[in-house]
């Protein structure tokens, strides 16, 4: 069978620099899914964009051919004129991008943007195209296609926007769909549903797909063919099944080992509850008021946190897991005193086992300053949490500067020491953050958090913005430092697999409530709550034997009204958190 797309000896460089894609070859058969796998900087995105020739202006295709054997006959995409190329884009080959939030124009209605593909390639008017677009909207799972047609992107959630993007890519029934990290920016449950949808659509229409991803779990669930790229070269290529069962190339093996997954565990032994708590949150609630649209309508109340009780023992890690909007970050901000909770909430902090607890939200000025030294934070995005205009040395010594600690040379020595602690060289102090990679920057953030010798660190999704292999390194680093310095972590994440490794206790949050809480072993061995089950089921694992169970995902990730009777939030009566076995609490009716 002739391949639908064949990429032959493709080399691409930027300007006069060395090639970033070197001698890449692969073929995509009709109806097949090929996964391009690699870390950032591997050249996978440049390769897939070269197919449609949407490359940055300075990129040059040095050599190679890209041949498309679509419904319009054989075409050499590298030799085509720009004008002819436009008839391929969106029609024979279409593309979905990583960030659904920003890939749609904020000022045009979804219907307009999607049906535009048909005006361009089928010469239809807006009213003629509408019927086809509405059918496509229904197909990609919009409950009310008419309404979606009239909506603006900002009225939709991330998952819905990605569905709209998929509809846009599918509406002209292309032969090939290129998806560039289509689910990386989505919550794990939404990711599972979007992947499921893409697979289903592919089965129905028989189109081929190139899936660009860094996640081997996604690959295992979607692909028939795999191409592993590293530094612009193909490391390993072949059918998915044998490759995933026994990766031959050491780099692929390395990727495999780094891929986080939820361990299969046996029943854990119950542990006695800890007595020495560094942080205790009691009945913490936070309600935001949203301004009403008109003065005579009541204000809308948003319950970001509802009666959250959490206890963090000294030297341990407590993880809060949930999707965006679940209230996990609000809870962490309240714990740090960065946000005022509703009255009746209590947060107690004990600096050491023997010291008196202080209420975080009733501190005086001196206590607050002392508390800020004890509690530090590591942020999600290492690219924006370091000032690009400050040298590493200044960024690192600034906390000591603010608290008036040490002399200049002492601060400097401490910064150098901390850099070594996180695995960087002390001669990097003079550099600016742009000289560091994402993983190195996150190390810098950790080092900065350590400068004040804190006892408690809040980690807000510290690895979500990083590649899997780097994620693995940062997690090890965090573990080492915790054990070395006797730190306690409050760890926020949307990813159960990350948490599985580092946490001593996991609290799963949904809509401001803790729905299930247990040590990770107990949680993964015997998840009780439908939402926890959905989170676990939605986690893509690099194991073709364990595909995502979409049914479980759909059951748990939906509206709380769709949960079983035992777990349903009926009206204003919420089920309470009940200890079903020692140390394992579930929010359910008895």
């Amino acid at each position: 069978m002739t391949p639908l797309l064949s990429v032959e000896n493709l080399s691409i460089g930027f300007g006069n620099g060395p090639a970033v894609v070197k001698d890449v070859n692969f073929q995509v058969a009709p109806g097949e899914t090929l996964a391009l796998v690699g870390e950032s900087g591997s050249g996978k995105t440049v390769t897939c964009r070269a197919v449609l020739r949407i490359l940055p202006r300075i990129a040059r295709i040095h050599s190679g051919r890209i041949i498309l054997n679509g419904s319009k006959g054989q075409q050499d995409l590298t030799a085509m004129t720009e004008r002819k190329m436009r008839t391929v884009r969106g029609d024979t080959v279409s593309m979905i991008f990583q960030e659904p939030m920003r890939s749609l124009s904020p000022l045009h209605r979804i219907g307009n943007q999607v049906s535009e593909v048909l005006w361009l390639h089928r010469g239809k008017t807006e009213s003629q195209a509408k019927k086809t677009v509405l059918e496509t909207f229904e197909r990609v799972g919009f409950p009310d296609p008419e309404r979606a047609y009239r909506s603006y992107p900002f009225e939709m959630s991330g998952g819905m926007r990605q569905r709209a993007m998929i509809a846009m890519a599918m509406v002209a029934k292309p032969d090939l769909l290129i998806a560039d990290e289509p689910t990386t920016a989505l919550d794990v449950t939404t990711q599972a549903q979007v992947l499921g949808l893409m697979k289903e659509l592919q089965r129905d229409t028989g189109m081929a797909m190139i899936l660009v991803t860094h996640d081997l779990g996604v690959v295992a669930n979607m692909a028939e063919q795999v191409v592993v790229m590293h530094k612009g070269r193909v490391m390993e290529a072949g059918p998915a099944e044998p490759l995933l069962r026994a990766p031959a190339h050491p780099y692929t093996q390395q990727l495999f080992n780094a891929a986080p997954s939820i361990p299969e565990v046996s029943a854990p032994a119950a542990k006695p509850p800890e007595q020495d708590l560094i942080l205790e949150m009691k009945a913490v609630s936070k309600t935001y008021k949203l301004r009403a649209s008109s003065p005579w309508k009541p204000e809308t109340l948003v319950h970001a946190c509802r009666g959250v009780d959490l206890r963090l023992p000294r030297g341990k890690t407590l993880a809060i897991v949930g999707e965006s909007g679940s209230g996990k970050t609000t809870a962490a901000r309240i714990a740090l005193g960065a946000e005022q909770p509703d009255p009746g909430s209590q947060i107690l902090f004990r600096k050491s086992a023997t010291s008196e607890p202080i209420a975080v939200h009733q501190m005086d000025r001196a206590q607050r300053t002392a508390f800020q030294r004890d509690a530090q934070m590591v942020f999600q995005d290492p690219y924006s949490s370091l000032s690009p205009r400050m040298r590493v040395l200044d960024a690192m010594t600034e906390p000591m500067d603010i608290h008036g600690l040490g002399s200049r040379s002492e601060r400097r020595d401490k910064a150098a020491h901390m850099l070594q602690q996180v695995g960087l060289n002390s001669d990097m102090l003079k550099r600016f953050p742009h000289a560091f990679s994402g993983g190195q920057r996150q190390r810098l953030s950790v080092a900065r958090a350590l400068m004040l010798d804190p006892t408690l660190i809040v980690c807000d999704e510290p690895t979500s913005a990083l590649d899997v292999s780097v994620q693995e390194q940062i997690l090890s680093l965090l573990e080492d430092i915790r054990d070395q310095h006797g730190l306690s972590y409050l760890f926020i994440s949307h990813d159960l697999a990350v948490v599985a490794r580092i946490a001593d206790e996991v609290a799963v949050m949904r809509q401001g409530l803790v729905v299930e809480q247990a040590p990770p072993d107990a949680l993964f061995h015997n998840p009780k709550h439908p939402y926890t089950k959905a989170l676990i089921a939605a986690q893509p694992t690099p194991d073709i034997e364990r595909p995502i169970n979409l049914k479980l995902v759909a059951q748990g990730a939906g509206d709380p009204d769709s949960w079983g009777d035992r777990f349903r939030f009926s009206g204003s009566v919420l089920p309470s958190l009940i200890e079903v076995e020692p140390g394992h609490k579930v929010r359910c009716h008895v």
């Binding site: 449609l52 949407i54 436009r86 008839t87 391929v88 884009r89 969106g90 029609d91 279409s94 593309m95 991008f97 990583q98 960030e99 920003r102 890939s103 749609l104 124009s105 904020p106 000022l107 045009h108 535009e116 593909v117 361009l120 390639h121 603006y152 900002f154 009225e155 993007m165 846009m168 949203l290 301004r291 009403a292 649209s293 008109s294 809308t300």
Partner: protein, 342 residues
């Protein structure tokens, strides 16, 4: 329906603002000690012309200048009956100019609409020039189109307006036979509107429009270019290209629509800066706009005249911002829906 409600709301706030502005204008005008008439009376007394003094004293009572300041204000605006009953701004009586010894409405009558005309022409010029050039400079960033338009733009910004006026008049006269000075041929002044008169006005408008508009156009072009460049890097532009859109259509439909917002928001600032900024140019070019009148009125403490002109400029500003606000609401659904989403 929502937009209609917003327009009504905006007009309401505009009227309120205008009221506050009138108080401020009145206070500022009365800040310097004395007024036109007391200055004149002092001068007449010194030179011993008692007849003139009597007339000035008469005018003082006639225009209620002998009353407390707040009463003067109320009479001026028309909230309180003056010596001749209710006769203030809201009744359409703009007051008396002592300097020119004429009602204010007669002095400003002609120059009012000429001011509006010149400024409208300049604004149309600014937008007509800045829009295509800004988009082109962004789409072809760091190419000769970009550099050339930037060069001309900076030249326009850096050249003093009156110098530009003189240069354009000289060469316009020499090569294109463009008339110098004024806004119409003197023969048409005071004549009823005719086709010939309109033609003369249009011909006289060419140079002032360019002179007043160039600096604004080059500043706006650079702003639009910067906005467009920001937008061109956004993922939705890539999406549009991946759809197979032609570059020109893609540019105008997507990034331009987003980059347009600050462009529209500028209308409000453009109107007043053109009135006050064009005073010097008007003097040099002999344009009968309101700018030079304002200057004389302020110098001589001709309070009703200057107050009226200041109110007029304020009104232009407010109308300008109102127009840009309403346009923004119509153009940008994010602004339109902001209240609803909550």
């Amino acid at each position: 329906m929502d937009i209609l409600r917003y327009v009504i709301y905006r007009i309401g706030t505009m009227l309120l603002t205008l009221l506050v502005v009138s108080v401020l204008v009145f206070i500022i005008i009365n800040l310097p000690p004395g007024d036109y008439l007391s200055n004149q009376i002092a001068e007449l007394r010194a030179s011993g012309q008692s007849a003139g003094v009597a007339k000035a004293e008469f005018l003082r009572t006639e225009y209620a200048l002998d009353r407390p300041l707040w009463e003067q204000y109320m009479i001026w605006v028309g909230f309180m009956p003056g010596p001749h009953g209710f006769s203030g701004l809201i009744q359409g009586n703009f007051g008396w100019s002592f300097e020119f010894d004429q009602p204010v409405s007669e002095i400003v009558g002609d120059s009012l609409w000429l001011t509006v005309l010149v400024n409208m022409a300049a604004i149309v010029f600014v937008y007509a020039l800045a829009l295509p050039l800004g988009v082109m400079a962004a789409a072809r960033a760091r190419s000769w189109v970009d550099y050339t338009s930037a060069f001309i733009g900076y030249l326009g910004l850096a050249t003093p307006n009156f110098l530009l006026a003189l240069i354009l008049y000289y060469y316009g006269r020499k090569y294109l036979d463009i008339p110098i000075g004024g806004l119409m041929d003197p023969a048409f002044e005071g004549q009823p509107l005719s086709w010939e008169k309109v033609k003369s006005v249009l011909l006289h408008l060419i140079v002032p429009t360019i002179v007043i508009g160039t600096a604004g156009a080059s500043a706006m072009m650079q702003r639009l270019r910067a906005n467009m460049l920001d937008e061109l890097g956004k993922p939705y532009v890539e999406t549009a290209i991946a759809k197979g859109m032609a570059p020109s259509r893609m540019l105008t439909k997507y990034p331009l629509r987003v980059a347009f917002n600050p462009f529209v928001a500028d209308i409000g600032n453009l109107l007043p800066s053109m009135v006050s900024g064009s005073v010097l140019v008007s003097v040099v070019m002999g344009l009968q706009t309101i700018g030079p009148t304002l200057l004389t009125a302020l110098k001589t403490q001709d309070q009703f005249l200057s107050a009226f002109v200041l109110m007029f400029v304020a009104l232009l500003t407010l109308i300008g911002t109102m127009i840009s606000d309403i346009l923004l609401v119509m153009l940008d659904p994010r602004i339109r829906y902001e209240g609803k989403k909550a």
